[in-house]
Amino acid sequence: MNIKKPLLVIVLLLVVLVLVPWLIHVSGRWDFYYTLTSVALLSIASAGVWLTFYIGRINIGQGAYTLIGGYASAILVTKLGMNFWLTLPLAGLICALISIVIGLPILRLRGVYFAMVTLVLTEVARLTALALPITNGAKGIVNIPMPTELSFFGITIIPDFGTLENPKLAFYIASVIMMVLCYAALYRIVNSRLGHLCRSLQQNEELSASIGVNTAYLRVLAYSISSFMGGIAGASFVSISQSVYPSSFQVVDSVNFMLNCFLGGLGFVLGPMLGTLVLYFGWDLLFTLGKYQLLIYSSMLILLMVWLPNGLLSLKLFNRGAKKK
């Protein structure tokens, strides 16, 4: 059993790092690199939302943190000339700190109230970005340089993306590695003591508080981890598109992060990843249908929900492995 888990990670890494590039190379669909990079980054942000679901809160405010993370990284890179790879964890940390300040009061809210406040939070982030001078208002920050070289005692760990002949592939590899790391961390959290405590929060907060669980601390912790993931996803996105605007992440994105979790299934760690893949790819593939794209996409969403209200991974096919455990 213990050998199986690292094996799973290695298999996943092999699939995303060897099989997928090979398939793309064979099929010649180079544009899929960008799509898959987006899927990887969006699924990191969705993983954060999933963690807040895990403590029993509906989070529709991840867009706020992806936006904050994006701006943090963009400002640090353009104004202070910092290395992108250094701003990446910094963006995450800034988001985590902000989320602690915001989370302390609003995590007292529950159910629909929390959901609606987080929804409003996305709007707050967008409007703040419009109003502040440092974010350059509606014009946004453009011409952000590519990630530069990261070296450690003269040994190059990550090459300069600007000099690579195929930066798309580099971005793809960087984001899928981050994605695998995030999901490994998420899996570790869920299966640790912390995860069990989170589950107790999800089931009954009063009860777990009465047996001595520090619920206030736990929910802020989970929320800040979630926002950290949102921050690094946002920062990477900004670096790929080399620009950030107040409208880069909006309410729709926040809602999509939540939908990814629902679609994949709230009871499964890999749920948000699958949900993101299906939703984003589905949307992309339906592009050929022109003006009927949204109609068919939303009909499929509704049908899926009526057919599988507990998420894709609740299918018997996937359940077999989960039950054995």
Binding site: F53, I58, I102, P105, I106, R108, L109, R110, G111, V112, Y113, A115, M116, V117, L119, V120, L121, E123, V124, L127, T128, L130, A131, V251, V252, V255, M258, L259, F262, L263, L266, G267, K291, Y292, L294, L295, Y297, S298, S299, L301, I302, M305, V306, P309, N310
Partner: protein, 289 residues
């Protein structure tokens, strides 16, 4: 100042009507209806089609908007929400469904009515001018009065009719209501239809003033969410209070913050978050409604 108050009242009456439908649906089924804004836009387009394209009187358009949306709401409840609520392990799953319906309605509106801004001719001409202190076009006053009348009819209906009593019982305690012989399924459907109908009526009312376009749905939903948070989710008087408070805040904020640019909504949002941190269940809500 009188002008600001009058504007606030006018805005508040419309907002309260939107929030009423949302809060009714929430209190009966514990569903956060993401598609509420889209339903409102749909209602506006129905009135536009009836009045501007078929040339029928405004009141016919308004009634038809209500009926079309009411039927749509009933069907959505019966065939989509009911089976999903019955089968899902977590209540929140209905949010995905609601969001899916919101996208679906957006797509339907786009295909049926196009993306253009639509409006209908003024219902009555002329402007009320009270000593230059309050200047307000008559049609706005009419719409404001109609909205307030609709709110009053709705409250009377909820308070004194058999259906209204059943729905209030349902909102208080679903199981107890069922034990008392209330047909829970039937009244959930009626409640959803009624909520959707209110959204349709607001849409019909507003199309005569501001017009309507596809993009208005999402922001309208967010505003409606804020209103029911201010007043307390699932509480009818709370929704009305929330609507008027938001209308007033918007109207006063536009006056006060005019010098600082477009930060009214930022201020409203921030004060809302602070307010909720102090009073998490709104003005009149039950704790953890």
């Amino acid at each position: 100042m009188e002008q600001v108050l009058a504007n606030g009242l006018y805005l508040g009456a419309q907002y309260a009507l939107i929030a009423l439908g949302l809060t009714l649906i929430f209190s009966l089924m514990n569903v956060l209806n993401f598609a509420h804004g889209q339903m409102y836009v749909f209602g506006g387009f129905v009135t536009y089609t009836v009045v501007a394209q078929l040339g029928l009187p405004f009141i016919v358009g308004l009634i038809l908007s209500g009926i079309v949306l009411g039927v749509m709401g009933a069907l959505i409840e019966k065939y989509l929400f009911r089976p999903v609520i019955a089968r899902s392990t977590r209540e929140e799953s209905t949010m995905l469904l609601a969001a899916g319906i919101a996208f679906f309605l957006d797509a339907v509106i786009l295909l049926l009515f196009g993306e253009k801004q639509r409006g209908i001719p003024k219902i009555i001409d002329g402007v009320l001018n009270w000593d230059y202190r309050i200047i307000m076009p008559y049609d706005r006053i009419l719409i404001g009065v109609l909205a307030i009348a609709a709110i009053c009819i709705f409250i009377m209906y909820m308070q004194y009719s058999k259906t209204g009593r059943a729905m209030r019982a349902l909102a208080q305690d679903r199981v107890a209501a069922e034990l008392m012989g209330v047909d829970v399924k039937y009244y959930s459907m009626i409640g959803f239809a009624l909520g959707a109908m209110l959204a349709g009526i607001v849409g019909g009312l507003l199309v005569s003033i501001t017009g309507i376009n596809l993009g208005m749905g999402g922001p309208a939903s967010i505003k409606a969410f804020m209103m029911i948070m201010i007043g307390g989710a699932g509480i009818i008087s709370g929704a009305i209070a929330g609507g008027f408070i938001l209308g007033m805040m918007e109207s006063v904020g536009l006056l006060v913050f005019a010098a600082y640019g477009d930060i009214t909504y930022l201020m409203i949002f921030v004060s809302l978050i602070i307010f909720l941190a102090i009073r998490p269940h709104g003005l009149m809500g039950k704790p953890w409604g």
